[in-house]
């Protein structure tokens, strides 16, 4: 097989994996720290895409419009995340998982309808600026230049999250809270504030992921449902709550999908689910998760 062909497929898998990592990292972070399985994560991701469209509509005459819109959309979602945490999520920390799931599932319906009421049912399009509208050639292989930005953003988020959790004092507190809320609380550190911060950060990343997705194709209702399944596959493979696991899981899903399209197009999705099922059977806590969370 031609090496340039393998490289092209690898790059498309990498871009797909990075897009999945951006979605799944916030989901995994929130679950890892707060033990909340946020079903509405992908719907908030979709809201990020719509917010990006709105900001872009206001600034489309400027070359920087799309870039600024992506950032503003992520910030808007962070604000929405803060409201959701303070008004709703905070009240179910100590409830059963089933009640948390019901609440976040209800959020899917509410946010979905709000999106429909606000932006209507028509598809939205963001025209990319000339810088990322044409292909670039990497070793003679064409590649969508926008995906270079996607890959860079993916690495930046991965590094930023790692640095935050491992190298900052606040990150150490967050990690400590994962293992013993009581101990952290006994040290006089307000747990609710920590949780709010983590939830807002997770939703900020979801909003960023949605905004980054927006210029790729059309923005449309229902996109979230297609994405959430693959995001769950990623966190199941990598291990819920593990940043490294989420990154590796995203790459596995992205590359398996890309290469199976090349070699066995009919079975691309099936292969991902086979890998997910296999991991669930032999290592239920995922590749990089801990048995405690199984």
């Amino acid at each position: 097989m031609d090496i340039s062909l393998i490289f092209a497929q690898f790059m498309s898998g990498l871009s797909r994996g990075m897009m999945l990592f951006l979605i799944a990292s916030g989901l995994s972070l929130i679950f890892g720290v707060m033990n909340i399985l946020n079903f509405a994560h992908a719907t908030l991701w979709l809201a990020g895409a719509y917010f990006c469209y709105t900001f872009w509509s206001l600034m489309q005459d400027y070359g920087f419009g799309m870039w600024v819109s992506i950032f503003l959309a992520a910030l808007s979602l962070a604000a929405i995340g803060w409201v959701i945490e303070v008004v709703l999520i905070r009240r179910v920390y100590n409830r059963d998982l089933s009640e948390q799931l019901l609440l976040t599932y209800g959020l899917i319906l509410v946010i979905g309808d709000l999106i429909k009421l606000t932006w209507g049912v028509e598809d939205k399009f963001i025209a990319r600026p000339p810088l990322v509208a044409s292909p670039v050639f990497l070793f003679g292989v064409p590649f969508d230049s926008y995906f270079i930005f996607v890959i860079l953003i993916g690495f930046a988020v991965a590094f930023g999250l790692w640095y935050f959790l491992k190298k900052t004092r606040y990150g150490h507190i967050v990690r400590a809270a994962v293992f013993s809320r009581e101990m952290v609380s006994a040290l006089g550190i307000p747990i609710p504030r920590i949780y709010t911060g983590v939830f807002v950060l997770g939703i900020f990343i979801a909003g960023l992921a949605g905004a980054v997705q927006a210029p790729v194709g059309s923005i449309t209702l229902g996109m979230d449902m297609a994405v959430i399944v693959q995001a769950f596959c990623v966190v199941v493979i990598g291990g819920f709550g593990s940043l490294l696991g989420t990154f590796v899981g995203s790459m596995i899903v992205g590359e398996v999908y890309a290469f199976s399209i090349l070699l066995w197009p009919q079975g691309a999705l099936v292969l991902i689910f086979i890998v997910t099922a296999f991991i669930l059977i032999v290592r239920p806590w995922g590749l990089f998760g801990t048995p405690m969370r199984a």
Binding site: P135, G217, M225
Partner: protein, 413 residues
Amino acid sequence: MKKFKVMVIVCSFLLIGGLITIDSSLAAEPYHLGVDLAITGTGAMYCKDGTDAVKLAVDEINAKGGFLGKHPIKLFIRDTHTKPDVAVREAKDLILRDKVRCVLGTYSSACAAAIKPVCQEYKVLHIPAISNSENITKVNFSPYTYQVVPNSYMQAKAVVLGVAELAKKKGWKKYVTLASDYEWGRSTQENTVQLLKQFAPDLKLKKEFWPRLGETQFTSYITAIMAQKPDFVYGCLASKDNANWMKQAKAYGFFEKVPYPGSLISVSELTTQAKTLTRGLIGLCRAPFFAHMDIPMMANFVKNFRAKYNRYPSDWAVMEYDAVYALKQGIEKASSIDTEKVKDALKGATIDTCRGRHYFRKIDNVLSCSSYIGVVADDPKYPFPIYHDLVEVKGPDSWRPEAEIVAARAAKK
């Protein structure tokens, strides 16, 4: 005597009053019309235009008193979410709760195929105006289902005639297909491949790609297709999948490298992607308004649609509008809103549509409407590209021979 006169006057009033009541109750009997379209989900992009066109047609007919001038239409619109199970649930609800006599729809042939037996069971008319898999009418035939859209076979045949000509001219030898992995995509791809074998036997199908319905990222497909180095690609993607594909493939410079003839580029794509759509693409569509502006019904429809919604109607709008008027003409021919009579009246009926005068073929209730192929190009008359060098492939020249339908039904038994 006086008592008798009073009695006569009172009885007369009662009689006249009763007659008026009976007459007005007859006149007021509304026609309940159901619409089962994808307000959300993959098909939302096309169906907004469809529902708007139905509303416009209903307003026009109601302004003249309704069907037969005395049955005002009461519209019930439901969202299938582009999911067959939801489409069935909503269709049943429309029939049982809202007592509709006809269900218009649907986007996604899977939805149309799913609600067809429901309509047949409850003896309700079913007019899928967007869904076009030929299986909707070819097999498991329902006398209650009428199709006003060129079906997947007709569209495939239209494309094949054009592609076979191009292949001969350009010396094409191998191709790949890219089709959405659901009923319409499978059916259209299969028909196209079969017909290409017949009309261009030298062409070899190298690989088939089946992205799932609702795919958001086509990058892996784009690189995998380019790796095959095909002489051309035949695509069967629709609605937002098609929009995503076109945008992403363009960003890869795909269309400059690989010819992509005969794929669905409806007026929706022409308008929404006006700035980005690659000029020179050879596309296929089902009911482009600009092809028939010489027909008064189309000209009026475009004028009224633009006045009401401030945009041009897409293929989907044209076909849904035609569906309502097909129903109207069926009712007029039957002189009744009784579903059995209307169903029988429509059998083989010739009707006026925005796309000209057509008839329903008796064997499968498919309208003899055309498919359209052309080259995407800018036009000073419109703020978006339209088709130039437009070729209209007539329904009777492209639909499946009746003998094959008979054979398919026999094989199904």
